[in-house]
């Protein structure tokens, strides 16, 4: 078996299949072996000498294959000499049976060798983007979708990335052959870029989402409501030392039973209530003291509307009223991961929850007496605990 011929044929088909790579054998260029013979063993040559061979012969690389059979197996030595870059690219020794595994190893080496030499003639461009799948235009021509790896000739290039709803990324480069450019482009969405491009004082430093619980001490004996428990969802934007946004609050339903006088005597009757409160508030907080972003104390206030729903017997009342609160917040960071941080917040404050509207029944021996509508203001101290999810902007 003429292994040399088989390997030559395999190398020809592999390398000629690559873009801009051609394999020539000594039989096609008989003068080249004589020139090379003058230099002797290539492994002992320095970088300059190897590059000189490339300049004389015009060859960028050389494959030297030595083999001998040892029984069933073949002992193979392949030297990959890179004249273009003046170095021995690889020496591969193999001792194994002739089979697919052997040819696969050689083929893989050949492709790597040829590609490495080719890259020294080209610019290798690697483009990634946030968000991914952005359209890439090179010198105004569509080139593909990110992430992308592309080889180009040296020169001036304008690289542009576009994606719907995002601000385009555009940059000019001068690239020389052999350069490798790894481009990481960040495309901002218009809303974010509006804020990010705003003057420093008005930049949004973070977007926040809070999940909170508040305990309100009511202390009412009529109707009997001692406590109220509110669950809050707050969305805030941090601008300089201020946080502004909205808060939605919902109370846990409050069931109350109140004794009323009847013709049997005092407190012989009973009136049942079911109350619930819904708050829609605008919120402003001010960072009074901050230790980096680990701990802080904020003072804040909120104002808005409260919807009071009262059910008593088969009657129900819905009333809107003004509502406001003032508080201090003590915040400590739980953890931070990249641009996200989770924080724990404790609140102490005083709230005007609005007007509590309810009906008061009176007993009439001759049937159902008309209900009397009553209302009273709800001034309550409160304490709360909140989990803050903070999404910081990239530029910070």
């Amino acid at each position: 078996m003429d292994l040399g011929r088989v390997l030559t044929r395999m190398a020809r088909s592999t390398l000629n299949g690559l873009e801009s790579v051609r394999l020539k054998t000594f039989t096609e260029m008989p003068e080249v072996p004589k020139i090379m013979a003058r230099y002797g063993n290539f492994e002992k040559l320095d970088r300059v000498s190897l590059i000189a061979i490339k300049n004389i012969t015009g060859f960028d690389g050389l494959l030297q294959i030595h083999y001998r059979f040892q029984g069933e197996r073949v002992h193979l030595l392949i030297k990959y000499i890179d004249f273009r870059n003046g170095r021995i690219f690889r020496k591969r020794r193999l001792l194994q049976n002739i089979g697919a595994s052997l040819f696969q190893t050689i083929e893989s080496d050949l492709v790597e060798f040829a590609t490495t030499i080719r890259r020294s003639y080209r610019v290798t461009l690697t483009i990634r983007s946030t968000p991914a799948k952005s359209k890439i235009y090179i010198n105004g021509r569509y080139a593909g979708i990110s992430p992308m790896v592309k080889e180009l000739k040296g020169g001036y290039y304008t690289i542009e990335l576009r994606k719907k709803k995002y601000k385009s990324y555009k940059q000019k480069f001068f690239l020389k052959n052999g350069d490798r450019l790894e481009l990481k482009a960040v495309l901002y969405n218009p809303l974010a870029s509006t804020f990010l491009n705003a003057p420093p004082g008005f930049r949004v430093e973070s977007r926040q989402l809070h999940f909170g619980y508040r305990y309100h001490f009511m202390g009412f004996s009529k109707p009997q409501i001692f406590h109220a428990h509110m669950l809050n969802l707050t969305g805030l934007l941090r601008i300089k030392s201020f946080e502004v946004g909205f808060r939605l609050g919902n109370s846990i339903t409050i069931d109350s039973q109140n004794k009323i006088d009847s013709f049997l005597g005092k407190g012989e009757g009973l009136q049942s209530y079911r109350f619930s409160f819904h708050q829609f508030m605008a919120v402003v907080n001010y960072a009074l003291w901050e230790k980096y972003s680990f701990a802080s104390i904020h003072l804040g206030g909120a104002a808005g509307f409260m919807l009071n729903s009262t059910e008593s017997g088969n009657k129900s009342l819905l009333k809107w009223s003004f509502s406001a609160d003032l508080y201090a917040q003590f915040i400590s960071r739980l953890f931070r991961n990249g641009n996200f941080s989770a924080e724990l917040q404790l609140d102490l404050g005083f709230a005007y929850l609005g007007q509590l509207t309810y009906t008061e029944k009176t007993f009439n021996i001759f049937g159902q007496a008309p209900d009397v509508e009553q209302s009273k203001p709800m001034f309550t101290p409160f304490a709360g605990i909140t989990l803050r999810m903070v999404f910081w902007n990239d530029i910070f």
Partner: protein
């Protein structure tokens, strides 16, 4: 034969009405009159009156076990608006569980009174036509059970 057919027709009518609401028929002046409970959307309390002594009827109904039960006699027909009796001034006798007299479900005339505050040994009723009803209120003061408006005829005492 014709009369029999009419009765059957009314019997069918009764069956249909009874499905939707509590109702009964009272034979008055030779005609059937549809009678509702005195308070709307309340369960029926079936009550009866019996004249044991002259001018002193006694009343009975299935005991309700409610805290607030009232029985009253009116001089004229009972007027109700928004589940509240409006002609309260026409009450000439009343009993309720607050008096602490008698037993709810079985009341003698002497156990009631003429005012809503206490039982006060009322004088016997004069001969004539009166109207009476029983009702019970829930803890919130809303009517829960009530009877129909019943007729009470006190006859002239028999001459010896």
């Amino acid at each position: 034969m014709k009369a029999t057919k009419t009765i059957i027709l009314f019997t069918l009518c009764l069956a249909i009405v009874a499905c939707g609401d509590s109702a009964s028929f009272e034979k008055a002046a030779g005609k059937f009159v549809h009678q509702n409970n005195i308070f709307a959307k309340t369960s029926r309390l079936t009550a009866s009156a019996q004249l044991t002594e002259v001018g002193q009827p006694s009343f009975s109904w299935n005991a309700t076990s409610k805290k607030h039960v009232i029985c009253a006699i009116f001089k004229e027909r009972i007027q109700v608006k928004n589940n509240l009796i409006t002609n309260q001034d026409k009450v000439i006798w009343i009993w309720h569980t607050g008096f602490g007299t008698g037993r709810e479900g079985n009341i003698l005339f002497s156990q009631g009174g003429t005012s809503t505050t206490k039982a006060n040994s009322p004088s016997p009723l004069q001969p004539g036509v009166y109207y009476w009803a029983v009702w019970a209120l829930n803890a919130q003061g809303e009517p829960e059970l009530s009877s129909v408006e019943n007729l009470l005829n006190i006859p002239q005492p028999k001459k010896p």
